[in-house]
């Protein structure tokens, strides 16, 4: 290399997204937001940083440790947005508390957590999600579960038919929603009245599904026979046969609070089944799922799919969080991890090398008033068309053939009235005679339509993916 300068480095855990990657990211973002809008959710754009205290007193210890903190010029301690739910809760509690409920919000943006970069999660990562605020009914929990499923399907995950045909998306498997309820475990903990270390030991045993650790906990703890029975059964209270699991859990309940949690689960799952078979088929009940970002109080869930060893979406009910800012409201929400979906899409359909978003038509010629009015006419006639102007008059057919054949389904060059069309990876072909603007528009329209038809038949052939 003639140029020996080092590239300007960026900190660990963040990435530049550009060309095809950025285009895919933006289109996924738009698609997810569109799904949320279809369900009646409105956009919210929380600030990128807040007072650190806003997160500190509401997040779990792990999330607290992962805050990016810095000092504002007035000396107050700030933190980068480490979560979307807490800022939305703040907004609703302090400014929208007297607006009509329920309130539905959706967002898509970056989250910053200063943690070890771990499986599928960098320090800046992207989330798209919703918050449904002011509705305590099980129907609200069910809406969130089914919306998670619907949005993931819209994003191309686990589309029925594609996997079974074995075509294209072999890596993107079906979705499973692992659903738990923190009320059950929290009420059990309340019954057991354990020491702090006992609580930790039980939490770790259940969280790790570790029979050895659970056995050790039971040996070292004084519990009644009834209490032992629930604790020992915890890891087995999970599976797809959720009626059986909830019946068994019901028979083990030690308190009304535990029974309330089971009843709530039943009501939520019944509501999910009202949406059709798809939701019910995806459910996996897991009463040993006790992960908590710090504010969950009831339903919690994770969306899982074949091909990825960690969740692609998660969420839950948080009935106490909004009240910590003032006026309380029940609420439930979900967050989808965009980076993980993009990873799945890439793994499923390996694409050609990344490149800039190419134009469909490149117009060359003397850049005068006539030139620009022709370009403008082309853009106005076909809003979907990407038209680039060759401002520097550099147009060279041979340069473009190799590049365009790689990234473009079709490309037209219109140069001083002469028009050349490249289609389906062959050579540029000159169109007969000099074309007028309306002839070029017609030509572009024909190519767009026939390309759209081909794309509809074979989705993975879409050059823009």
């Amino acid at each position: 290399m003639a140029d020996s300068r080092l590239p300007a480095p960026i900190p660990g855990g963040v990435a530049d997204h550009f060309w095809t990657d950025a285009a895919l990211r933006e289109s996924l973002r738009a698609r997810l937001l569109h799904s949320f809008h279809q369900w009646g959710y409105s956009d919210v754009l929380p600030p990128a940083f807040e007072y650190a205290e806003t997160f500190d007193s509401r997040a779990n210890p792990v999330l607290r440790e992962e805050l990016y903190r810095f000092v504002d010029r007035d000396g107050s301690l700030l933190a980068l947005r480490a979560d979307m739910t807490i800022p939305v809760a703040r907004l609703v509690a302090t400014r929208l508390h007297d607006a009509p409920m329920p309130q539905r919000f959706c967002y898509a943006g970056s989250i910053y957590r200063y943690g070890d970069t771990r499986a599928g999660q960098q320090r800046e990562f992207w989330q798209a999600g919703v918050e449904l605020i002011g509705e305590a009914a099980p129907a609200a929990d069910a809406e969130i579960l089914v919306l998670a499923l619907a949005a993931l399907r819209d994003a191309g995950i686990g589309q029925a038919g594609i996997d079974n045909a074995g075509v294209g998306h072999a890596g993107i498997g079906d979705i499973r929603l692992a659903v738990g309820h923190l009320g059950f475990f929290d009420a059990l903990m309340a019954e057991l009245s354990l020491s702090a270390s006992g609580k930790d030991a039980l939490f770790e045993a259940v969280d790790g599904r570790s029979d050895g650790a659970l056995h050790k906990f039971l040996q070292g703890t004084n519990l009644t026979a009834e209490q032992r029975a629930v604790v020992a059964a915890l890891p087995s209270l999970s599976g797809t046969d959720y009626d059986e699991i909830l019946d068994r859990a019901q028979s083990l309940c030690l308190s009304d609070a535990m029974r309330t949690a089971i009843d709530a689960m039943r009501a939520i799952l019944a509501h999910v089944s009202f949406y059709g078979d798809d939701g019910a088929r995806s459910l996996y009940v897991d009463l040993s799922e006790i992960h908590n970002l710090g504010y969950y109080t009831g339903l919690t869930f994770e969306a899982l799919t074949v091909g990825l060893g960690y969740p692609i979406a998660s969420g839950g009910r948080y009935d106490s969080l909004i009240g910590t800012f003032g006026s309380g409201q029940p609420a439930v929400g979900l967050a989808i991890n965009l980076d993980r979906i993009l990873y799945l899409q890439q793994a499923a359909a390996p694409r050609s090398a990344s490149g800039p978003l190419p134009a469909h038509v490149l117009v060359g010629g003397e850049a005068d008033a006539a030139f620009h009015s022709a370009v403008a006419a082309l853009r106005a006639a076909l809003p979907e068309l990407r038209v680039a102007a060759d401002l520097a008059h550099r147009l060279d057919l041979s340069d473009f053939t190799a590049f365009a054949a790689r990234v473009m389904p079709w490309l037209a060059l219109w140069f001083d009235g002469e028009c050349f069309v490249l289609s389906e990876g062959s050579q540029f072909q000159a169109q007969s005679g000099r074309l007028t603007i309306s002839e070029v528009i017609e030509l572009a329209r024909t190519h767009m339509t026939s390309h759209a038809q081909r794309t509809a038949m074979t989705p993975e052939a879409d050059g823009s993916r």
Partner: protein, 244 residues
């Protein structure tokens, strides 16, 4: 991930696979098990065979081997890498030592302790070192292959140890003046004694453990639970029974 070509022979050879006309992407692929190369490899295969699970006869030079009936796929990994393969879901299940798992800090499920690979992670020093509380140490130099566990052990006692990470022959540390203490696995203690060292504290008891990817455990629960219950049934009686 699951390619068409890998599915095809499986459907015809595995009698437990559901009706091949409706391939379910969640259940048709084999369960992948990450095995630790070396010390635990033989005992793990013996235990799997005793539990009636299909095991490969010989890996030869291959790193991935599918069992003859296609239901299990084994991959051979460096022991310290087993938790990584499992956390990312590159393997659904894995076997490693508890010491390696805790050192890795990886987020996986650990449903079953296995009855072999017993050893302890211990703090050792010169035989003639006087015994006094470790919290009296100022900033001891500790050589180890387990930097996270060693640092945490001292931190719990309010001591910020200087951790010197080595990748083997840790006993050399005190002999040549690199470190005054070591944290290492101890089985019989012969190596320590032969090098003029003595065990000072036990940091943790270790044994082999079956770990599972958190997503696979729930996505493919039927197959994984079937494997777990077979492995649990093959445990000696004094082992805690699998509660499932």
């Amino acid at each position: 991930m699951t390619s068409r070509s890998r599915k095809a022979p499986l459907v015809s050879t595995d009698p437990t696979t559901p009706d091949p006309t409706t391939p379910d992407p969640i259940t048709v692929a084999p369960i992948t098990v990450a095995l630790p190369k070396g010390r635990l490899q033989g005992e793990t295969l013996d235990h799997f065979a005793a539990a009636g699970l299909p095991v490969p006869g010989d890996f030869g030079r291959r790193l991935v081997v599918t069992s003859p009936d296609g239901s299990l796929r084994y991959l051979l990994a460096k022991p310290a890498d087993v938790p990584t393969y499992v956390e990312y879901g590159a393997a659904d299940l894995g076997v490693c030592g508890l010491d390696v798992l805790r050192e890795s800090g990886r987020e996986v499920y650990e449903p079953l302790l296995l009855p072999y690979g017993y050893c302890r992670l211990a703090l050792a020093g010169h035989v003639d070192r006087p015994d006094y509380p470790l919290r009296w140490e100022n900033q001891p130099r500790v050589a180890t292959k387990y930097p996270r566990l060693a640092a945490a052990f001292f931190r719990e006692r309010g001591v910020n140890a200087e951790i010197i990470e080595l990748s083997g022959s840790v006993e050399l540390g005190p002999l040549v003046g690199l470190a005054e203490l070591i944290v290492d696995l101890v089985d019989t203690g012969h190596t320590l004694r032969a090098n003029g060292l003595a065990e000072l504290r036990v940091i943790m008891q270790s044994q082999a453990v079956l770990i599972a990817n958190r997503a696979s455990f729930r996505l493919r629960s039927q197959q994984i639970q079937a494997i777990l219950s077979r492995l649990a049934a093959a445990l000696p009686l004094d082992q805690p029974a699998n509660t499932q």
